[in-house]
């Protein structure tokens, strides 16, 4: 019992195999009645059929032999560690009888016991998204489908390796935590797998009482209120002359009402909460769970926190869902919690170097020990210290992980979820996730928000898209108002940013544009059946706002299918508002211009002068012929009326007014045109949108080699060409010496005699062939000539009694034959020309041939 004494530390010694389990030696005399009772008991006990505990081996989807050796066996060091762990377990059980067993050495997929720490394999996968903890957590929760523990209060018997988990895309919380921890350690975090207890909701990944994280973010946007600052000379507000008493009474009344309202609201909320509370859980506090702890320090993590592998969310260590910690481990060590968990994890301190709070298994505790004053430590156990010191020199370290390297292809990574789809249920919301390019229309996230918790009353559906060629990235369908809002990225032809519309055509429609990209600076256009409003920004003509009122479409007897543009809505009124143009005096700078087209009038309002509260106005009645092209505008004083802010200022000249009128008449015409253009543009956008919606093309990045068909084809083509080229080259490089070498029986080494002979043979052969070829061409040439001669003589003989067709046939034959002869002649000539060259080339080649060169060089030397 060395080392296991009054101190809190369990000192593990691999050699310490002392029997700590006390055996009962109760062999005494047995009374008869007792014997009977024993028999009875025996009968009773016999009725209980004990089944051997089934080891829940996961269905082996891979044959045993396909696993690497490390999976099927333990090497010596691992065996040593297992023995060490077993010793630790026994001492632990002995010391803390009332504590639950620890998960130390579960079986792996091959049925071999493996120590949990060696199951963690720190890995960095080559994906940018997996560089941060939230990316890793999201990946694990999405990629792996969660299997609940069965029974929920027992530790699992087996713990599969992360490679198997990734392959099967299934796993329990322990396996998922191990995988996540491997990734986090690979990314440089100080991460640990935690084994402990959690609520039912946590262990079953039941998020129906949680608010969807996508919805949370929106609420976080806070409005910053600007307080009006009181300055030294800020004027005092006007005196309040109302009765103080009455005000007070009113305020009191209001306060009461507000209070009541609040009370009612609170009650409602409480009721609602009561309704939504989960049913009580008889296994509360017993459900085993496994999750990941990230300690502060590395990777600039400011605070310790938990990551839930099932959902991918991170929680503070104070979270209510976690009820206690039994132990935690990483790839270096194993720590057992010695702190009281009656208050959940709230009071736990994660100072792993503190051996009072955390019992560690391997003495190589890399964590800095807590700074306890030396006196204390000495007081604890002096002997212990000595032992530890001795052991530290020869302590056992953790063997490398037995798990094969984790691998994941890009395609697998991009599929995110099993089969690329995943549906999550939150409080009054349903979230569906899809892998990129899985859905034809580019849908990646669909969030449905409901009003009630039974999820029947649909409020809103938000669909997020990616890679759409029409740049749509978000569509929100509000089922309450029936409005659909679509959001687009930059880069559409008409720079549409946002569009809100109802489900039926002539209803209200709002479009928001990327105004900085548009030439006309349009930011927003609202339209319904009778009105259209446009807002502008940053225009050179200072236009800010344009509001058009339409009349009803005149009813004409037209075929139903005619285009609406052939029957435009009549314009009744156009209101334009302008920004202040500092270059003009305020009372000549138009602020608002109203074209009452149906009444043939124009009303102007000018800008306010600096301190003035009234603005000048001017009304025009358009002369009757104003809209005729080329007509001269006549002008008379009574066509205009005005209100001038400053009656003493000199009135403007008639000429000025006349020019203004002419300008306005022109402008009205232009404005009407621009309104028509706007209408056309709306139509254009709508038809374009319809077409795009029907096509729903997806953009594929040029770097995406998997999906980019064009690039793929190009690549395949190139590969094919390369192959061909290679083949051709191989053919080219046929060994010209091979047949001759074969003749002399492929000797390993050539002697000089042989080499010379080889060369002679080779050259002779070539000569032979060249001559043969020349002869062949010659013979063909002769044959053709002879034949032609024959034909010619035949023709000359029969020329008289020949029909026209035969003659033509003959002529044709002649020309063909002549052609052939000509070609043959050419070939022959060329062959004659080329043959010496070929001969020389081969000679040269043979001279430089590796196998012959030495002899040849020698001959050359000899000759010299």
């Amino acid at each position: 019992m060395e080392g296991v004494g009054d101190g809190p530390a369990i000192v593990v010694d691999s050699g310490a195999d002392d029997g700590t389990i006390q055996e009962e030696d109760a062999e005494n005399e047995i009374p008869a009645d007792a014997l009977e009772a024993v028999n009875e008991l025996k009968d009773e006990l016999d009725q209980i059929v004990l089944q051997p505990p089934k080891i829940d081996m996961t269905p082996a989807d891979l044959p045993m032999q396909s696993y690497p050796l490390t999976y099927k066996e333990n090497d010596n060091k691992e065996k040593l560690v297992l023995a060490y762990a077993e010793n630790f377990r026994r001492q632990y059980v002995h010391l803390y009888r009332d504590r639950k067993p620890l998960l130390l050495c579960p079986l792996n997929e091959c049925g071999v016991e493996k120590f949990v720490c060696t199951t963690i394999r720190p890995t960095t996968l080559p994906f940018q998204e997996l560089y941060d903890y939230d990316g890793c957590a999201e990946f694990v929760s999405d990629y792996v489908t969660f299997d609940p523990l069965d029974p929920p209060v027992d530790l699992p018997k087996s713990l599969l390796s992360s490679t198997t988990v990734l392959r099967r895309q299934r796993g329990n919380c322990f396996e998922m935590s191990t995988l996540l921890c491997s990734l986090l350690l690979g990314a440089g975090y100080d991460a640990y797998v935690v084994c402990g207890y959690a609520t039912r909701e946590m262990t079953l990944c039941d998020e129906t009482r949680e608010i969807c994280p996508l919805m949370k973010k929106k609420n976080e946007v806070k409005k910053e209120e600007k307080k009006k600052e009181m300055r030294k000379y800020t004027v005092k507000p006007p005196k309040d002359l109302r009765s103080k008493f009455i005000l007070e009474m009113e305020a009191r009344k209001e306060a009461e009402q507000a209070k009541e309202e609040q009370q009612r609201k609170k009650e409602m909320e409480e009721k609602q909460e009561e309704l939504e509370k989960p049913p009580s859980d008889e296994l509360y506090g017993l459900r085993i769970h496994c999750w990941v702890l990230v300690l502060s320090g590395k990777r600039e993590v400011p605070e310790n926190f938990f990551i839930e592998p099932l959902t991918g969310n991170s929680y503070s260590t104070q979270h209510d869902g976690y009820l206690g910690i039994e132990s935690l481990w990483n790839n270096h060590n194993y720590w057992v919690n010695m702190q009281d968990c009656s208050n959940g994890c709230k009071d736990l301190l994660f100072d792993l170097g503190d051996c009072v709070r955390w019992e560690f298994m391997f003495p190589s505790n890399e964590k800095p020990t807590l700074d306890i004053p030396d006196m204390d430590e000495d007081a604890l156990d002096f002997e212990d210290d000595e032992d530890e010191e001795k052991e530290e020199e020869k302590h056992l370290d953790m063997p490398p992980s037995w798990v094969s390297p984790l691998e994941l292809t890009l395609k697998e990574f991009q599929s995110r979820c099993p089969q690329g789809k995943k549906t999550l249920t939150y409080k009054r919301a349903k979230l569906e996730k899809f892998a990129h390019y899985l859905m034809k229309d580019g849908l990646i996230i669909r969030l449905s928000i409901y009003h009630d918790k039974e999820m029947k009353d649909l409020v809103r559906v938000e669909e997020t898209y990616s890679f759409r060629s029409d740049k749509l990235h978000l569509r929100v369908h509000n089922h309450r108002t029936g409005l659909i809002t679509e959001y687009y990225h930059q880069g559409r032809p008409l720079h549409l940013k946002e569009q809100t519309y109802g489900q039926w055509p002539d209803s209200e429609r709002t479009m928001i544009f990327y105004n900085h990209a548009r030439v006309d600076g349009l930011t927003r256009r609202e339209e319904n059946a009778l009105e259209m409003t446009e807002h502008f920004d940053n225009r050179d003509d200072f236009l800010l706002y344009c509001h058009v009122v339409f009349g009803k479409r005149p009813k004409k007897l037209e075929p139903a299918g005619s285009l609406p543009s052939s029957n435009p809505r009549p314009i009744l009124k156009i209101v334009e508002k302008f920004r202040r143009n500092k270059a003009k005096p305020a009372n000549e700078d138009i602020a608002e211009c109203i074209y009452l087209i149906s009444e043939d009038r124009i009303q102007l309002t000018f800008h306010h002068q600096d301190d003035k509260i009234t603005a000048s106005t001017r009304d025009f009645i358009k002369p009757p012929n104003a809209n005729d092209k080329g007509a001269v505008l006549t002008f008379s004083q009574d066509m205009t009326s005005t209100f001038r802010v400053d009656p003493l200022a000199e009135p403007p000249k008639n000429l000025f007014i006349y020019n203004l009128l002419r300008e306005l008449v022109d402008k009205e015409d232009k404005t009407v045109h621009s309104v028509r253009d706007s209408e056309e543009e709306v139509k254009e956008i709508l038809t374009e949108r319809q077409e795009e919606e029907a096509r729903s093309d997806l953009d594929i990045s040029v770097y995406d080699t998997e999906r980019n068909e064009k690039a793929k084809q190009h690549r395949i083509e190139r590969e094919r060409l390369q192959m061909e080229e290679k083949k051709r080259r191989e053919e080219m490089e046929l060994d010209y010496l091979a047949p001759f070498l074969a003749q002399i029986g492929d000797p390993e080494k050539l002697n000089r005699q042989q080499a010379l002979k080889l060369k002679e043979d080779c050259l002779a052969d070539l000569k032979m062939r060249l001559i043969d070829k020349a002869n062949l061409i010659q013979s063909r040439f002769e044959k053709e000539t002879v034949e032609l001669h024959k034909k010619q003589t035949w023709y000359q003989n029969n020329q008289m009694n020949m029909q026209k067709e035969d003659e033509e046939e003959y002529l044709e034959y002649c020309s063909e034959a002549m052609f052939r002869i000509h070609i043959l002649e050419l070939r022959l000539n060329r062959h004659k020309e080329m043959a010496p060259h070929k001969y020389m080339a081969l000679d040269q080649k043979l001279k430089t041939d590796q196998r012959l060169s030495e002899f040849f060089g020698a001959t050359l030397g000899d000759k010299r």
Partner: protein, 523 residues
């Protein structure tokens, strides 16, 4: 001398000629008819063409003070004159005249395009104020010195230049010289200057230009320095402490004192003066620093006040504008109703209702105005009090420091007197070792003379100090008074009157409107 002198009598720029030109060049058609009916003011004319008029003397153009473009080409003008009032002129054409000297263009600061083509100009000069010059044409003149063209370097915006037909154009280096010396130029003699020409020319005249540039930068730096100094001095002047950051006051005191130089020769006075000067400069510098600091504070206070007043005015204006807009809407509605109504009683009641609304509007607008007047009055009072406190504390502090200066002067005076007396005694007893200058010896006649001399010097000093003190105090108080008067006048009286007038005008207009409105309806 001129081609036309002998044949045709020169014409005079008179009312008839101008009127005719304006009418000919004015608006056409219907606009012309209207313009003719009411007459065209010369001040409204922006473009005027007086070419081929055989004008000898430019005159009577003073009415056209908004003129932007003036063409006086193809006349027989010999002297540029009478253009001083045309300050908005951008475009001036004086080509084909008999001008010999460039002059009379000093006031045309906005001029961008100047044509002096085909004249008899021999030198380019007197154009310093034409900083905006963009296009300049002096072809066919008598320019013979290429060096004279360096004058054009000062026009930083000059892009187009025409010099063709001048004597120096025959010079082989003419083009290179111009291109190298006027780097802003893009077009010369109607041709684009390409990059190669430019680099070649630059290379050719590299050293000359470098020298020029060095001179110019030096001049520029000097100018900037002076400007900086001046602006600093201006600021100090505004703080009433100019020239107090050095021995200026001290030197001034002694400069205007005829006796000082004589008395300075007394033995031991040198050291006395040195100590005195040091102490006084220290005090002056204190005044200076304090003055600047106080000035800053005052400026901040004034800015704060104005911004607050502006805020209050804007707020008030906003309220008024809102209710006026509301009323305008109401009025539109009423007018629309009235036009369709036929029942005379109904119309009557509507009109009375409208008039009541107008009265209500008046009440509210005037209410706002009164509120603003009250608010501003309070604020102005506060401001005046604070500012007066500031100024008086400043003045007190300065007075305190200046009295220290005065004390110094008194001490200095006593010491000086003492030295003078001792010296006199010694002089009388012939115990003096050093030889004294002649004019000092003149003073060392008897005790009275020397005492008088010292006292006179002292009086002059005291006077100087007093003057400086008075100056500071007077100016500070003057500034305060002027500022407060302006605020009272502008912010209170004038503003109030304007607003009341405006409201009444508006209300009258509203009332008139409805009365004019009903006429066609009643019939």
């Amino acid at each position: 001398m001129s081609r036309l002198y002998d044949t045709v009598e020169p014409s005079v720029v008179d009312e008839i000629m101008l009127q005719k030109a304006v009418e000919e060049q004015g608006p056409k058609e219907e606009a012309g008819r209207i313009a003719k009916a009411e007459g065209i003011d010369f001040t409204d004319v922006t473009q005027l063409r007086l070419d081929f008029k055989n004008i000898l003397k430019v005159d009577n153009l003073w009415q056209f003070n908004n003129l932007v473009k003036l063409q006086l080409d193809n006349n027989i003008i010999e002297k540029i004159e009478g253009l001083d009032t045309l300050a908005h002129l951008v475009w001036l054409d004086l080509s084909f005249n008999n001008i010999e000297v460039v002059e009379g263009l000093e006031k045309l600061e906005k001029l961008e395009d100047l044509t002096l083509y085909n004249n008899r100009i021999a030198t380019l000069e007197n154009m310093d104020s034409l900083t905006q010059l963009h296009v300049f044409s002096v072809g066919n003149n008598n320019l013979s010195s290429l060096e004279n063209l360096i004058y054009l370097r000062r026009f930083k915006g000059l892009r187009t230049l025409n010099l063709a037909g001048n004597p120096f154009c025959d010079d082989a280096n003419y083009k290179q010289f111009v291109v190298a010396h006027i780097p802003t130029l893009a077009y010369l003699d109607f041709r684009l200057i390409d990059g190669n020409t430019k680099t070649a020319a630059m290379e050719q005249y590299k050293y000359a230009i470098e020298e020029l540039m060095a001179d110019e930068t030096a001049a520029e730096n000097k100018r900037l320095e002076i400007e900086l100094k001046e602006s600093k001095f201006e600021k100090q002047k505004l703080a009433y402490v100019e020239n107090l950051d050095g021995p200026h006051l001290f030197d001034n005191m002694f400069a205007e004192d005829p006796e000082a130089s004589k008395l300075g020769a007394l033995p031991g006075v040198d050291e006395l003066l040195a100590v005195y000067k040091e102490k006084m400069v220290a005090i002056c510098q204190q005044v200076f620093a304090f003055g600047l600091q106080e000035h800053e504070k005052r400026c901040k206070e004034v800015d704060e006040f104005y911004s607050c007043v502006q805020e209050a005015k804007d707020e008030n204006k906003e309220m008024a504008v809102v209710i006026i807009n509301e009323f305008n809407k109401y009025k539109k509605k009423i007018v629309a109703e009235l036009t369709v109504m036929s029942d005379p009683n109904g119309i009557e009641s509507q009109i009375t209702e409208y008039k009541e609304e107008v009265d209500k509007l008046w009440d509210r607008l005037m209410g706002f105005e009164l509120q603003l007047v009250d608010q501003l009055e309070d604020t102005i009072k506060d401001f005046e009090r604070n500012l007066a406190d500031m100024v008086s504390s400043f003045v007190e502090f300065v007075q305190g420091l200046i009295s220290q200066v005065r004390d110094l002067e008194n001490i200095h005076h006593e010491r000086l007197l003492e030295i003078a007396h001792i010296t006199l005694e010694k002089y009388v007893k012939n115990e003096l070792d050093d030889e004294l200058p002649e004019d000092l010896r003149m003073l060392l006649v008897d005790k009275d003379t020397i005492t008088n001399a010292v006292s006179a010097s002292h009086d002059v000093h005291l006077l100087k100090i007093d003057n400086r003190e008075d100056d500071i105090i007077q100016r500070a108080n003057g500034w305060l008074g002027a500022l407060m008067e302006r605020i009272h006048n502008e912010e209170e009286v004038a503003r109030n009157r304007d607003r009341v007038k405006e409201i009444n005008n508006f209300i009258d207009h509203l009332k008139d409107d409805i009365e004019n409105m009903e006429l066609p309806n009643a019939m």
